[in-house]
């Protein structure tokens, strides 16, 4: 429990392994008061459209419907990334590809990736989209040449 403030002294840690995430119930001593703290690990949810959501899993069911608290979307364009805050999200299970536990001890991303502002990432995203669209439309314009 290295992430805890120094004031907190963990007395007892109980780890429950639910099917999706580990929940630690920590009984800690905080300024001489005993407190129970629930720690739910941070998760990454990969959606079918390729979007990546990060947040704290509060609830889920058999269909993989999930409630993410403090959710944000991680937009990655090339070596740039940005976490756009979203708030509380209920995700319908059928859109879920994968739910992964994030290992907080390790870096989440390779070192050469740079964090940029939401405005910049949107611009980069649009540039990428335009390049793809151009390729598609050029192909259409060339079709009359009957390349095949």
């Amino acid at each position: 429990m290295s992430s805890f403030p120094h004031l907190l002294q963990a007395i007892l840690t109980i780890q429950l392994d639910f099917s999706l995430c580990k929940v630690s119930i920590v009984i800690a001593k905080y300024l001489a008061l005993y407190t129970i703290i629930y720690v739910v690990e941070k998760l990454l949810v990969l959606l079918r459209d390729g979007r990546k959501l990060l947040g704290i899993l509060r609830s889920f069911d058999q269909f993989a419907n999930a409630v993410l608290e403090g959710a944000c979307e991680r937009v990655i364009v090339g070596d740039l990334y940005c976490d756009i805050p979203l708030g509380l999200y209920v995700i319908r299970g059928e859109n879920v590809v994968l739910i992964g536990e994030l290992d907080l001890e390790r870096e989440e991303l390779p070192p050469h990736m740079t964090r940029v502002s939401a405005v910049e990432i949107k611009r980069a995203q649009k540039a990428e989209q335009d390049a793809t669209d151009l390729k598609g439309s050029m192909r259409k314009r060339m079709e009359f040449l009957d390349l095949d």
Partner: protein, 97 residues
């Protein structure tokens, strides 16, 4: 010896039952084809194939000429579970009567 009931073909999946332990051809969504020995299947057409050859057909667009380039990629896998929702067709081996 298979009993008469076991060899009768009344519904489509019976044909697949008769292909157990034989090499079959499977066409899948997203331009994928498989050839392999059928070891197991269920009513969803989930399958386990052995000694599998997969062929993927991809179409790329050339950056300069905008020509379509058709590529096929082959790979082999010893044992593969295939989820039934991707299956388009299953073709049993040709039998010589």
């Amino acid at each position: 010896m298979a009993s008469e009931e076991e060899s009768a073909v009344k519904e489509p999946l019976d044909l697949i039952r008769l292909s157990l332990d034989e090499r079959i051809y499977v066409k899948l969504r997203s331009d994928r084809e498989l050839r392999g020995k059928l070891h197991a299947y269920d009513q969803h057409l989930n399958m386990i194939l052995g000694d599998v050859e997969e062929i993927i057909t991809t179409v790329e667009i050339d950056d300069e000429t905008y020509e379509e380039i058709v590529r096929t990629t082959k790979r082999t896998v010893p044992y593969l579970f295939v989820r039934g929702d991707g299956v388009i067709l299953v073709s049993p081996p040709l039998r010589t009567a």
